[in-house]
């Protein structure tokens, strides 16, 4: 499974990466992007199975990234997960319209992310 982590904080990307490694879920490669535009470029170039994205980011937000992904049939099998400080019900409802598998609010526990990874890995094997 190839994972793409999208967050404008390099510290948060490093932390998510560390948790992914601790879970021991088999991962082929972990890619990183600092905003939605960088993420789109990586999605174009690589075959990614799991997208973990923040919402509030400069250049292109996570919501705009997810809209672009939802519009393109090439990424119909991509598992999409939001990891954001904004845990409002309104934002969750928006996310539901963007084919997002789940919504993690920061701060999150490593166990929650492990469950997400296991779920995505099972889907990727199908």
């Amino acid at each position: 499974m190839r994972i793409l982590i999208v967050d404008d904080s390099s510290m948060m990307r490093a932390m998510i990466k560390r948790v992914v490694k601790l879970t021991k879920v088999p991962v082929e490669e972990i890619l990183e992007a600092g905003d939605g535009a960088q993420a789109l470029a990586l999605l174009e170039a690589k075959d990614v199975q799991l997208l973990l994205t923040d919402i509030n980011m400069p250049v292109m937000s996570g919501a705009d990234l997810l809209r672009r992904v939802a519009e393109d049939d090439r990424w119909r099998n991509l598992t999409r997960v939001i990891i954001s400080t904004d845990g409002s019900e309104a934002r969750r409802e928006q996310a539901a319209g963007l084919s997002v598998r789940c919504y993690l609010q920061k701060p999150f526990s490593p166990e929650v992310l492990r469950d997400v990874l296991n779920d995505a890995a099972a889907t990727a094997r199908l």
């Binding site: 904080s9 510290m11 932390m15 560390r18 400080t85 904004d86 409002s88 309104a90 609010q105 920061k106």
Partner: protein, 173 residues
């Protein structure tokens, strides 16, 4: 929009201060394995800190606009960095931009947790944190809460501007 009667201002400020303390506690304990306590304002001249790192987040797009700033002594910022990143304290110090990024993310999570609790039915937009370093955190007219994170002082300054004509407070505030 809730039609509840507005809280008198001092009660409103106390309620917001309590919600902020809870947000700091949630973030510090869950992501940084740190302990948080309420605290009196310290004598800043007695706080042994080389400098303070201040991360200010502005928020808008909701029924309220405003800002939240977290001011941390630099040694606490480094401790939080180690807890978050797993860095060995004996290894070389991280570059300043990474420490700034960490304090920005701490403030971002505090602000997001606080606003989510207070305004669960509204989408809000958090702007990227602005980081400054100061000798001591100055009072600049904002409301201030003092907390102790791992027995080190942390100042949380907040300012809220409610939307024009919005005389109500929603249930979470």
């Amino acid at each position: 929009m809730s039609s509840t009667t507005p809280l008198p201002l001092p009660d409103f400020e106390r309620a917001v201060g309590g919600a902020i303390a809870l947000a700091v506690s949630t973030v510090a304990e869950r992501s940084f394995f740190a302990c948080v306590d309420r605290s009196e304002a310290p004598d800043l001249d007695d706080v042994n800190a080389a400098e303070w790192v201040v991360a200010t987040i502005r928020f808008d797009d909701g029924p309220v606009c405003g800002s939240l700033a977290c001011s941390l002594p630099s040694d606490l910022a480094l401790w939080l960095f180690d807890a978050f990143s797993g860095r060995d304290p004996a290894s070389p110090l991280p570059p300043r931009h990474q420490l700034d990024d960490l304090v920005g993310e701490f403030s971002n999570m505090v602000c997001g947790t606080w606003l989510t609790r207070c305004e669960a039915h509204r989408v809000f937009k958090l702007n990227p944190p602005v980081i400054t370093r100061v000798r001591q955190p100055e009072e600049d007219g904002c409301h201030r809460e003092w907390l102790a994170v791992n027995n080190r002082p942390v100042a949380i300054d907040w300012d809220i501007v409610r939307s024009p004509g919005d005389g109500t407070t929603t249930t979470g505030w």
